[in-house]
C-alpha cells in the first residue's frame, strides 16, 4: 500500500485532504518492519512473544518484553528506544496509581493511560509520534486481559493480537485456535508454533524466542515463561514445522 502524501506528510499536525494524518501512518510502518510480537489471552493467562534478528548479540540481551508491575507486562514492536520510553511511562503510571489508590492498577486503566500518552505525541508539531506498538497483558480483578496500543494512540482489548512483520499471517493462525478452552501452558506452545511457522519464510537470518506469561500458574504475576516449558514449546514448534515440511 503505497500512497504518497506529497506535501501533507511533512508534519504530524497536518491532515491530508482525505482526512489522514500521514506521519502517524508512517510511524505504523516502522512497527510493521520490526520483528513479530504475538499475544493471546487463554482461559487463565496471556502469552506474549517476540522475535529478534541478530548475529553477534548475546542471547537474552535486547529484551523486548518488560514487566510493568507485578501483575502486568508489555511487549514492544518497532523502534526499541521509543519502546523503552513507553515502558518507563507505563511503570510510572502503574506505580503512581498504586500510590494514590492503594491497589494494583486495573489493566484497562493502565492501557488507557499509556494510549493517552502515545496519543499525546501525535498532537504537537515539535514531537514525533512513537514508532512502536505495544501489546499489554495483565491480570486484575476482572481476570486476564490483553490490550494493544498503536502509534496513533488507539488501544483496543483483544483475545489475540499480533504486530510486526508477520502480523497478518499470525492473526490468521491465532483465529484458528480455540482460545476459550486453552490453558496458558497449551497457549505457550501454540504461540511458539505460530512464531516458528511465520519466521520460516522471512528473509531474516536468526531469531530468538522470548516469552512471558501471567496466569494462575505464575501466581498472577508477570514473569518469563520457565525454562523447561520454554524448551518444551520450542521443541514442539520445531516438530510441527518438520511435519508440515514433510507433507
Amino acid at each position: 500500500m503505497s500512497s504518497i502524501g506529497t506535501g501533507y506528510d511533512l508534519s504530524v499536525t497536518t491532515f491530508s485532504p482525505d482526512g489522514r494524518v500521514f506521519q502517524i501512518e508512517y510511524a505504523a510502518k516502522a512497527v510493521d518492519n520490526s520483528g513479530t510480537v504475538v499475544g493471546i489471552k487463554c482461559k487463565d493467562g496471556i502469552g506474549v512473544e517476540k522475535l529478534i534478528a541478530s548475529k553477534m548479540m548475546l542471547p537474552g540481551s535486547n529484551r523486548r518484553i518488560h514487566s510493568v508491575h507485578r501483575h502486568a507486562g508489555m511487549a514492544v514492536a518497532g523502534l526499541a528506544a521509543d519502546g523503552r520510553q513507553i515502558v518507563a511511562r507505563a511503570k510510572s503510571e502503574a506505580r503512581s496509581y498504586e500510590s494514590v489508590y492503594g491497589d494494583a492498577v486495573p489493566v484497562k486503566e493502565l492501557s488507557e493511560r499509556v494510549a493517552s500518552y502515545v496519543h499525546l505525541c501525535t498532537l504537537y508539531w515539535w514531537l514525533r509520534p512513537f514508532g512502536c506498538g505495544v501489546i499489554l497483558g495483565g491480570y486484575d480483578r476482572d481476570g486476564p486481559q490483553l490490550y494493544m496500543i498503536e502509534p496513533s494512540g488507539i488501544s483496543y482489548r483483544y483475545f489475540g493480537a499480533a504486530i510486526g512483520k508477520g502480523k497478518q499471517a499470525a492473526k490468521t493462525e491465532i483465529e484458528k485456535l480455540n482460545l476459550t478452552e486453552m490453558t496458558c501452558k497449551e497457549g505457550v506452545i501454540e504461540v511458539a508454533k505460530i512464531i516458528y511457522k511465520l519466521h520460516d519464510e522471512a528473509k531474516d537470518k536468526a531469531f530468538e524466542l522470548e516469552m512471558s506469561w501471567i496466569c494462575e500458574e505464575s501466581k498472577r504475576e508477570h514473569q518469563k515463561v520457565p525454562d523447561d516449558l520454554l524448551e518444551e514449546a520450542k521443541t514442539a514448534a520445531k516438530t510441527a514445522l518438520e511435519e508440515m515440511d514433510a507433507d
Binding site: 518488560h66 514487566s67 510493568v68 508491575h69 507485578r70 511503570k91 506505580r95 500510590s99 514473569q223 518469563k224
Partner: protein
Amino acid sequence: MTFTIPIENGNGVKDAEADSQRTLYPYVTGTSVVAIKYKDGILMASDMGGSYGSTLRYKNIERVKAIGKHSLLGASGEISDFQEILRYLDELILNDNMWADGNSLGPKEVHNYLTRVMYNRRNKFNPLWNTLVLGGVKNGEKYLGMVSMIGVSFEDNHVATGFGNHLARPILRDEWHEDLSFEDGVKLLEKCMRVLLYRDRSAINKLQISKMTEEGLTVYEPYSLKTFWEFSAFTNPTVGAEGSW
C-alpha cells in the same frame, strides 16, 4: 517543647511549611524486637502491641514483615514511620523484580539501603523514628543487622531494640551459641520475651515469631506466653517497705 530549626530553601527564605514536616516525637509506638541467628537462618520475635503514649491502644500490629525473598524487617518505634519504610522497600523490591535478571536483593543490600535512608533523614533533622532489625538468608549466608533512628548501623549474631537491648541482650550474650536448633532458638527468644513482658510496661502478652531460612519465610500464628505471678515478691510487694505501693 518545640525545638525549631530554621530550614532554608535555595533562595535563603524560610519555608513556612518546613517546621511542620519534621518529626518531633513519636505517637503510636511498638516496643522491643528481638532477633537471633540460628542453625538454618534467622528467628525474629516481637509482640503485637502499639502504644499510644502509656495507653496500649492497638493489639494486633504486625511489627515483623518480609522484604523480598530473603529478608525480614522488624521495627520498634513509630508505627506510621515503619509503614512508610515498608512503602519505600516495596518500591525498591518491585523495581528489583521488574529487571527479571535472576538476581534479587538480599538482606545485606536492604540493610545498607535502610542505613542510608535513616542516616540521611537524621541529617535533615527529620528522622524516621524507628529502630529497625533486618535479618535474612541468601545463598546460605545468614545476615542479621540493626539500624537506629540516627543511622547507627551494625551486624551481630543477636540483636534487640528498645528495652530488649537492656533486658534481652545480656541473656543472649550468655546463652546464644552457633548452630542453635530451631526449638532451642525459639526457647531462647521466649525467655527474652518473657522477661520483657514482666518488666517492660509497653509489652503485651501476644507475640509473633518469624523465621527466615534459605527456603523462605514462615510467620507463626500469634500466641501468648505462660506467666507466673505467684512469686512471693509479687504476692506481697510492700513487705520490707511499709507505706510504699
